[in-house]
Amino acid sequence: MRVIVAILGVALFGAAKLPVEHAISETHRQLHFCAVDLNLDLREQTGQLGFIAALSGFRSLVADALFLQAHVAWERTEWARVLLLFRRITTLQPRALLFWDMAAWHMAWNASTAALNDRAQPRLALRIKAQREYFQLGKDFLERGIRNNPDRPQLYDALARLYRDKYGDHEHAAELYAKAALLPDAPGYEKRFAAYELALCPGRERDAYADLQALYKSSEKERFPTLLRRLKELEIKLEIPPDERIPD
């Protein structure tokens, strides 16, 4: 009898706590906490160890161990292994910006350069093709990172740099810097960098000039040498009247 009463008591408590747990889980989801779904995809992507780690709540430790392995693989220029490891790492720790950033850097900067300079591949076209594939891999990492962390400016910033330095796509770079600038805790330079990139987009010089001028007027601290130089270049390009120009 006592056993039955105890079981009923537990069940009643369970029924009472269910909505509370559900509500807290929802809050966590909105705050993007614990953003790892325990499903077969996770099992496939992370392997058995990673899956167990996710089950047990020790994701961070396993991810760090894999990160150290990735570091070693990078030193050995084992790019396929670096890619595989970072896929697991970012799956286990989707809210760790560092891992997305490092993954993209390894692919878009390190692996792509290695591919371009690969002496084992005599054909330049194929080396460039491989380089571009690595750019894409880097971009994928950052885009997935942004989807998992939409409120953090760092990955927008990293993707903007990738567009700027690897694709020469200043328009996309400007858009991303501008998005980063709107997010909480964004560093002050994001707005400046958005304007710099916009200035390099054909047909967008007037918008860039307006942004740079607004920054110039907002504070003395914003009057960096690069900003002043860009303003001067745009004043000449846009034939701004002398009385509207910034002093030399």
Partner: protein, 294 residues
């Protein structure tokens, strides 16, 4: 002879708590685990040379991970043997032959275990903060040295980034949640030990509960939202959702390390839920132990 007997006395509970803490602090298991955790945290200072963000991330991961593992393990291992040992030695008989209620006895035992967990976590936290502070100060000095020619606002931004990556109040929230999870596990272990036949049985059951607890959220959401599964699956999922605690709610170390701020309201909710669980399992333990024949 004393004056009228009081049904509940913190003084009696405190006496049992003190004796329990002293006994647990002598466990070899405790020292081995603590040494391992401290070594892990201490050695993380010698990680491979990386950027400071990488280094701080890895340091925090290892430290908080070690604290989480250690406190969860200790919560189960230390509590699993509390009751069986006393019953086997007949010490429980001498204690309960005194004017001590079974609830006071259980509460004293559990509080002793919780106090041990608190002291252990405090020791690990102190070492962790020391290591983090030492590294942070080194990185700050290096940053100032390397950016000596940079404009002041860039330097201050760089220093702000370093400080934000190192110590921040979120870490305390993370440690608090680790402790609350350990309290829940200790209380649940005490409940299981009231009807378990051996300590090994208790530990094995708790290992299962630990894993299932981390899956409870999946089972719960599926049970609440999906009605197309067969009745066997629905029943199984319902049982998991009702009878197991959602341990994922208490596993926020990854987000803490990633720098995600834990709002005070969320922290308060988790801590309150954890304390409710702890209290509920203590009551469950009492309901079983109340009429246990010694």
């Amino acid at each position: 002879m004393n004056e009228g007997h009081h049904a509940f006395s913190f003084f009696r509970v405190a006496a049992i708590t003190g004796a329990t803490l002293r006994g647990l602090a002598r466990l070899k298991t405790f020292y081995v685990l603590l040494l391992f955790a401290l070594l892990l945290i201490g050695n993380s200072i010698f990680m491979a040379q990386m950027t400071f963000q990488q280094e701080f991330q890895v340091l925090k991961d290892i430290a908080l991970g070690a604290m989480s593992v250690f406190s969860s393990l200790l919560a189960v291992l230390a509590t699993a043997r509390l009751l069986p040992q006393d019953i086997d030695d007949r010490t429980a008989s001498t204690i309960l032959a005194k004017p001590v209620s079974r609830f006071e006895y259980l509460a004293g035992k559990l509080l002793g275990a919780l106090l041990l967990l608190a002291i252990s976590l405090a020791a690990m936290s102190a070492l962790f903060f020391l290591v983090l502070t030492v590294r942070e100060q080194w990185v700050l000095r290096e940053t100032v040295r390397q950016m000596s020619a940079a404009p002041p606002d860039q330097l201050s931004e760089a220093l702000r980034l370093v400080r934000a990556s190192a110590l921040n109040p979120n870490l305390l929230a993370g440690i608090a949640i680790i402790y609350v999870k350990a309290c829940l596990l200790a209380s649940l272990t005490l409940f299981v030990s009231t009807f378990a036949t051996t300590s090994i049985f208790t530990m094995i059951v708790m290992a299962f509960v630990y894993f299932i607890g981390h899956l409870q959220a999946v089972a719960r959401e599926f049970w609440l939202q999906t009605h197309s599964a067969g009745w066997i699956s629905q029943t199984f999922l319902g049982l998991v959702a009702l009878f197991f605690p959602d341990l994922q709610l208490f596993t926020l170390t990854d987000d803490v390390v990633a720098g995600n701020a834990i709002p005070m309201t969320v922290l308060a909710q988790i801590v309150t839920l954890g304390l409710f669980y702890t209290g509920f399992y203590l009551l469950l333990a009492w309901s079983v132990f109340f009429r246990k024949e010694l």
